[in-house]
């Protein structure tokens, strides 16, 4: 096995859970969700060779994965307008809930997170994955203070959404 493949395998082993959760917050349809998850891994596979250690591997992986997710959502937005998209996601949620009982509590949270704007959605997931404000700023391109403001707004909004049920 080549070094490249070994490096990739260790990335997959370490990040697959987080990447799957990111995919779940950006795509509600279970089939498309797995496609997005694979697209993220494919993008990482291709990008890994360009990694020049200017940032940490951690932030590099998340940047590539999020960009793939954003491209996916943008592509999906072409097919239907945003309100229809949210309706579609809400309707598809039931599929996820029946998809597996394991994901039930996660599916409820991801459905609420997925109704936030992209950057806020991204910040919430990164925060749940335990990232620092500096890493979040590096990945999103926002300033650290702006990350704080946006994350706070996102948390308040998410809390309201979860309380509405």
């Amino acid at each position: 096995m080549s070094n490249y493949q070994q490096a990739f395998e260790s990335v997959v082993a370490k990040y697959k859970l987080s990447l799957f959760k990111i995919a779940a917050t950006f795509e509600a349809d279970p089939t498309l969700q797995m496609d997005l998850f694979q697209d993220m891994l494919l993008a990482i596979w291709q990008a890994l060779g360009k990694f020049k250690q200017q940032s940490s591997l951690h932030t590099f992986i998340y940047k590539v994965a999020y960009n793939q997710a954003v491209s996916h959502v943008a592509k999906q937005s072409r097919k239907q307008d945003i309100t229809q998209l949210h309706d579609h996601i809400a309707c598809q949620r039931s599929d996820i809930e029946s998809y597996t009982n394991t994901l039930q509590s996660l599916a409820h949270i991801t459905s609420k997170i997925s109704s936030l704007p992209i950057i806020q959605r991204q910040l919430v997931v990164m925060s749940l994955e335990g990232m620092s404000y500096t890493d979040m700023a590096e990945i999103t391109g926002l300033s650290v203070s702006h990350v704080g403001v946006q994350l706070n707004r996102a948390k308040t909004k998410l809390k309201q959404l979860l309380e509405d049920k």
């Binding site: 697959k16 494919l42 960009n67 793939q68 954003v70 943008a74 996660l106 704007p117 991204q122 990945i139």
Partner: protein, 198 residues
Amino acid sequence: MQHQQDSWDDIMQNWHSKDDQLQQQLPTPDTLIAQINKRNRNNKIEVIMALVAGVLAGGYIVWEMYLGLPSIADKILYSIFLALIVLGVANSYVSLSRSIVASADRTKDHVTVLLNQSEYKVKELRIGQIIMTIMCLVILFIVGVIAYIGLFERPLEYKHYLVAGICSACSILFIGNYIWFKRQIKQFKRQIHFLSVQ
């Protein structure tokens, strides 16, 4: 404030509560790598197939144009086919290579890139619409010339009917393309709107 922190802690707890089970349900790294290798191979095969088909079809048309010594009308028709083949192959090649280029930009920059790409795509599609209109007019002109010759000058031969038939089919194709481009423009505008509000 404390209430918000508590609720955030609850969310955090739920977020990680099923991690172990989820980890087991997701495919193993080996399976995922095998799937990715398969997709990589499929992408490459698609590009190679599109290139081979394009070169074969293009080669045949060039051969017909220059060695078959056809009439001017045939040459125009062949040129249109050639242009369509080149456009088709270039489009499939560019879209495939774009889809597999991974961006390691910051999200904000990535959104800007996507926004610029969409705006550029809208311009491209508008130019495509103009080209389709011109091609349709040229083809209808050829049909008109054939009809004029048939009605006022001399009886038409079998190949004239063939050319007129192909031209009519092409004009329908171009009208179809024009409508498809219009739909695409609408979709890209929707994407621009979506990205702009982020």
